[in-house]
Each structure stands twice: as structure tokens, then as C-alpha cells.
């Protein structure tokens, strides 16, 4: 079994997955963590990929967002994002 650290990626690796849900690219958007109030671009936060994809705050490790894909639908939990700040092109 692989260690947790080895499953660690960056939020930018979830950009394709998130593009199935959000039309503008959200990995360049700033997300404020509901747990610790830290702000970071979603592309910069920690991504763990297992059965689903989990984005976690790098400051407090709290869960920000979780996506699970089933064959016919996608489940998305926005557990820990207080505010998403999207730059408008």
C-alpha cells in the first residue's frame, strides 16, 4: 500500500475534474478555508486521490472539497470553502 504522502498532488491536477463541474477554471480562484480562514488558489492546495478526490487546506489540512464520480453521476461536497474568489477575464 502506498503511503498517504505519495498520493499527495496539487489542486491543479484536479483542474480537468473540476472543469466537468464549473465552467470557468476554478484552480486559479482563491478559496478561503472555513476551518482556519487561510486563502489559497485551489490549484495550490493539497489533492489526495483515492476512491474520490479530496482537496485539503495546506495550512490546517481541513477538507475543502470532495468529488466522487459514479458511472452516471458526480457527487461534489463543498465542505470547507467559505468563499471562492474568481478572477473575471
Amino acid at each position: 500500500m502506498r503511503a498517504m504522502e505519495e498520493l499527495l498532488l496539487d489542486g491543479n491536477a484536479a483542474a480537468g475534474l473540476l472543469a466537468q463541474i464549473f465552467v470557468p477554471d476554478v484552480t486559479s480562484a482563491l478559496a478561503r478555508c472555513v476551518h482556519c480562514q487561510a486563502s489559497a488558489a485551489l490549484g495550490a492546495v493539497a489533492l489526495y486521490q483515492g476512491a474520490g478526490s479530496v482537496l485539503r487546506c495546506r495550512n490546517c489540512e481541513g477538507v475543502l472539497l470532495r468529488v466522487v464520480s459514479a458511472p452516471d453521476r458526480t457527487y461534489i461536497e463543498l465542505t470547507g470553502i467559505r468563499c471562492l474568489e474568481l478572477p473575471l477575464a
Binding site: 505519495e6 489542486g11 465552467v23 477554471d25 477575464a89
Partner: protein, 254 residues
Amino acid sequence: MPSSAPARRIEWRAARVIETRDETPHARTLVLDVPEWPGHHAGQHVDVRLTAEDGYQAERSYSIASAPSSRYLELTIERLDDGEVSPYLADVVQPGDVFELRGPIGGYFIWLPQLRRPLALIAGGSGIVPLMAMLRLRAMLDDAPSAHLLYSVRSPEDVIYGAEIERLAASDARLSVACTFTRRHAPDWNGYTRRIDRMMLEEAIPALGESPLIYVCGPTSMVELAATELVAIGHPPAAIRTERFGPSGTNGNR
């Protein structure tokens, strides 16, 4: 890709292989014709989807190697022996073959030429690929900011784009390149022969006072280490962009 382009959902497209080019014993470049490709930024990636005869699908992300203005899209694929997708792309696929791809993807790990700060690029293994797109774009600019590349590979045979990087550096006094060989090196090599560490980062990339914009791409453990040391040196976290691609050797998700 013009930033004023309206946001729209990315779609799967058919990519046709025009040409393949061996880069190292483990990596191959695919030159692809993708009809209606909307253009990309240096540093972005694509998702590739393969479908087996029984309907089983496997999807992986690959960084784009070509400059935004190039006619064809180029991906460089490192073969992972236990991989589901990379052995097909690195060994099997031939000119004329078609597979599905969507992109460009990602707005975070990108370099835009209007960013005027000195560029520091730190690559581990095939982590060079998105950074090469940045170097190729930079080489076309008239007044490019200075750039420093620090490239960590296991052995001389694992250097991807070696000849092109040498050529770029030889013709550009504002581009400096440092390589480190972590396992094996030529007998006459007098450069670095260790993993990236703090001293190497202090020597090979612009000092704090120059406020470099830093891009780090490679296996997760290498990126973790480089990012931690960069912050310890004092580089602001906001100046450091990272792309981890999983465990080294197996890098699981490719």
C-alpha cells in the same frame, strides 16, 4: 489562448498522431493534430482518455510540451512499467492513430510572458515537460525576462530535451541551466551529483532580492523538498507554483 475567450466547457476531442520522437529510453514525444484546438498557455496540461474494447476507460493527465504558438500539440510521455496508459502512449501508438484528449486544462501552473519577473524553473525527471513549454515560449520573445533552470535527473540518459536545452542556453546569455545527476553521471561531469537541496537552490536560482517567479514540477517527494527549502530560504509561498505528479518511479496516476 486569448484571456478574453468566453469560458466554455472543455470537450473531448480526437487527437491524431502525426509523428513520434524518442527522447530517452523511457520517454517519447507525440506530435498531435487536434482539430479546433483552442490554443493553450505554457504550463497547462491535457487529459487523455483511452477506451478498451470492453468499454473500460482510463484517464490520465499529461503536461503540454509545445509552445502556445506551435502548429501541433506535443506531449512527452514517460513510460511507467506498471502504468495503464503510459505504456500505450510511450511504446504502442503510431502515426495515424487517434485517441481522445481534452484540454487545455489548468489556470494555476501557467506562465504568461507579460509576467516580467525573473523565471526560476525547477524540474525533477519528466517534470521538465511543462517547464519546457515555458522555455520554448520564452525563446520566441524579444525582451524575455532572465530564466534559470535547475534540472534533476537520475542519469545522463534520462535527460529529456537535452540537445535543445543546450542550444537555447548557448544562444541566450540570460538563460542559465544547471543539471544534477542523482544516481549516475559521466566520469568527466563536474556539476551537481546529489538531490536538490538548499545550497543548490541558493546557487542555481535567482536570489530573494530579484523576486523570481518559481515553478517546480516533478515527483511528489522532490517537489515537497524543493518547496520546503524555497520557503525556508525566504521566497514567499505566493511566488512558488508547484505541480506534483505522484510517487517517483511509479508515479502512480500517470
